[in-house]
């Protein structure tokens, strides 16, 4: 298999419920809940349709309001929101190509698991039923002990079904680039188990027409026991083993340096990558490419002061290196004032943002004073001459949006967030806040600080990430490993370090031993 990672849905953690996810995958290893599960369809999620807004939450392009772009660039790439630039086109076509082969591969593993599970479920019942069907007359009657075994078999099967539903029938949230080793191991184990039981059954019972029915029932019961133990093994390998923290992962985003540290347990690289991405969507502030660059006016002045003349040299092989080296040396010797400009520019930008924020806050506070929640007992109080018109939240939001719209627009422009918040979304959020009795400050928290990426995400589509690693991705985490998760225009670099071994010592302090003396020179007169 190649190393391309396609991430569209995967779940292995038992602590979250995934039933709210739109795409449900079947991942039962041993059991399927009932026959009709396989009839429910899966919704495919990872195709990126061309009608999607070009500025999706994670990769915005080409809209930085850099005033100098006309002077310093010769090719104009993206100039307005409505036009498609060349790179956007290639990106869309690439995404379209990438998403179609997903469909078959994604369902292969859960289908295999489902088939095996069904097979394993049916086996004990088949073991019980076949002798009854084929040679019923010659079977020894078996009374109470068999009934006891029937009851225990029934309950164990029920427990197996319930725990399979609880643990394994959750929609997966990712597809991994390589086989998930533990899962394959468990599937192979189940297959081997059930096959060997069938083999034994076929030779010893079916061929020789065994008449001891109690023995057969006991045999079926032992198969169910063994399946319960395999499920215990699956629980430990897939759910429990990685819970105890053993490594510390440092995740750094390459474009703006946002970083976080996470503690994880024993995982393979691909599983750790999925875990890191889960945390990325809720911890990292959204990537805003417009905030990144130093204004070109500051950087471009560095190298432009010197011109290099070549005096009488015949061979020009080392011309370029000599030229650049001398330019660099000259620039280093020259007194460099660009940090000054950067400092003042930063201060100016910050002042502007603060002023606009103040205007915005005042405008919003004022706007919120215009409306009030309508209490039913007020109906009789309001005078008949000025009847107050009763509005629903949407109308109320539209009514008070007008006075604050301009201040909001200017603030978003100053902080370069205007691509994330359309007018429609602001009105929706306003409506939401009004109906939940939020204060203006609560309404504004969404705009005053860049939230986590998840807030801006359209969750109906899958996300494409590429896992770049020097070691095979099914290898376990080790001290000093580095791998990165790449997306179109930024990537996350993950460094692994082991958590230190802790030598915990003990010191007993007698509660009566807390005594104090004054640290003064006391003077006593005698």
């Amino acid at each position: 298999m190649d190393n391309e990672s396609t991430y569209s849905g995967y779940s292995y953690k038992s602590s979250h419920s995934r039933s709210s996810r739109k795409h449900r995958e079947r991942r039962d290893r041993h059991r399927s809940k009932s026959r009709d599960i396989t009839l429910r369809g899966d919704k495919s999620v990872s195709i990126q349709a061309p009608g999607e807004p070009l500025m999706d939450a994670e990769s915005t392009r080409g809209d930085d309001r850099d005033d100098n772009w006309g002077e310093t660039t010769t090719v104009v790439t993206g100039t307005s929101v409505d036009s498609i630039s060349n790179d956007d086109l290639t990106r869309i076509s690439k995404d379209l190509e990438d998403s179609s082969p997903l469909e078959c591969r994604r369902y292969l593993s859960p289908a295999l698991g489902a088939v095996l599970g069904l097979f394993a479920l049916v086996t004990p019942l088949a073991f019980l039923a076949l002798p009854q069907l084929l040679w019923r007359d010659t079977l020894e009657p078996c009374g109470t002990p068999c009934e006891g075994l029937y009851i225990s078999l029934a309950f164990k099967l029920l427990i197996l079904l319930i725990s399979t539903w609880a643990l394994f029938l959750r929609p997966p949230r990712a597809t991994l680039p390589r086989f998930f080793i533990f899962r394959c191991l468990l599937l192979a184990l189940v297959f081997l188990f059930v096959a060997s039981y069938w083999l034994f059954y076929g030779v010893r019972v079916l061929d020789s027409r065994e008449t001891d029915y109690r023995g057969i029932v006991g045999y079926a019961a032992s198969l169910v026991d063994a399946l319960l133990f395999i499920q215990y093994l699956a629980l430990v390998l897939l759910e429990v083993r990685h819970l105890r923290p053993a490594f510390c992962l440092k995740v750094v985003r390459t474009t703006d340096g946002a970083s976080h540290f996470y503690n994880v347990g024993y995982l393979s690289i691909q599983r750790a990558a999925v875990w890191v991405l889960d945390q990325y969507y809720s911890d990292f502030p959204v990537y805003n490419p417009a905030l990144l660059n130093l204004p070109k006016s500051i950087l471009s002045k560095k190298m432009s002061a010197f011109k290099i003349y070549n005096l009488g040299e015949e061979n020009s092989t080392n011309n370029s290196t000599g030229q650049s080296r001398s330019m660099v040396a000259a620039a280093a010797r020259r007194r460099d004032n660009s940090h000054n400009e950067y400092y003042y520019e930063e201060a100016e930008v910050e002042r502007r943002v603060r002023k606009r924020k103040a205007r915005l806050v005042v405008a919003v506070e004022e706007a919120f004073t215009h409306i009030k929640r309508h209490q039913d007992e007020d109906a009789t109080v309001s005078s008949p001459k000025h009847p107050r018109e009763v509005m629903d939240p949407r109308e109320a939001a539209q009514a008070i949006f007008a006075p604050m719209a301009r201040a909001m627009q200017k603030y978003l422009r100053a902080t370069r967030q205007q691509s994330y918040h359309s007018m429609e979304s602001i009105i929706n959020h306003l409506q939401f806040c009004i109906s939940h009795n939020m204060t203006p400050k609560a309404f504004l928290e969404r705009y005053l600080s860049p939230g986590p990426t998840l807030q801006y995400l359209d969750t109906s589509r899958g996300r494409q990430w590429t896992l770049v690693s020097e070691e095979p991705v099914t290898a376990s985490l080790r001290q000093g490993q580095v791998f990165s998760l790449r997306r179109l225009d930024f990537s996350l670099v993950v460094t692994v370090t082991t958590l230190p071994f802790l030598h915990l010592g003990e010191e007993f302090i007698d509660p009566k031993s807390h005594k104090f003396v004054m640290k003064l020179q006391s003077e006593t007169s005698v």
Binding site: V517, L520, Q521, S522, E523, S525, V526
Partner: protein, 128 residues
């Protein structure tokens, strides 16, 4: 006056005998002491060696029996009535000086000027 722990101390001492004054119920000597092994030696203004935890005279009541006997401020008390005062707690020192059944305390005190005086006298001809 510096000492090395564990080694015997040799200083030049002066013998001072103070008669306790009866003031009502109390017998007073007329001076104040500071120091002791349970005190902070760094705050002692009179000691040369700031790790010296001995008992020092911090104040003398003018006109009291101690001043008449020749005790000076800053003296380090080495012995009281034969009891050692170099390694005692502050409270033990106080007790040794204020025993009710003794009317007289005989102190061995040392001060820097004593050393210098001995050196002078040994270096030059005998003082009259």
């Amino acid at each position: 006056m510096s000492f090395v722990p564990g080694m015997p101390v040799s200083v030049v001492v002066e013998r001072i005998e103070i008669k306790k004054l009866c003031q009502g119920d109390n017998l007073i000597l007329g001076f104040s002491i500071g120091g002791g092994i349970d005190q902070d030696p760094g705050q002692n203004p009179f000691s040369e060696d700031k790790s010296d935890k001995g008992i020092y005279v911090t104040r003398i009541t003018p006109g009291g029996p101690a001043q008449d006997a020749g005790l000076r401020m800053g003296d380090k008390i080495m012995q009281v009535n034969g009891w050692d005062m170099t390694v005692v707690t502050h409270d033990q020192a106080r007790k040794r000086l204020t025993k009710k059944n003794e009317c007289v305390v005989r102190l061995l005190v040392t001060r820097k000027s004593l050393e210098q005086a001995v050196k002078h006298s040994m270096g030059s001809c005998q003082r009259p």
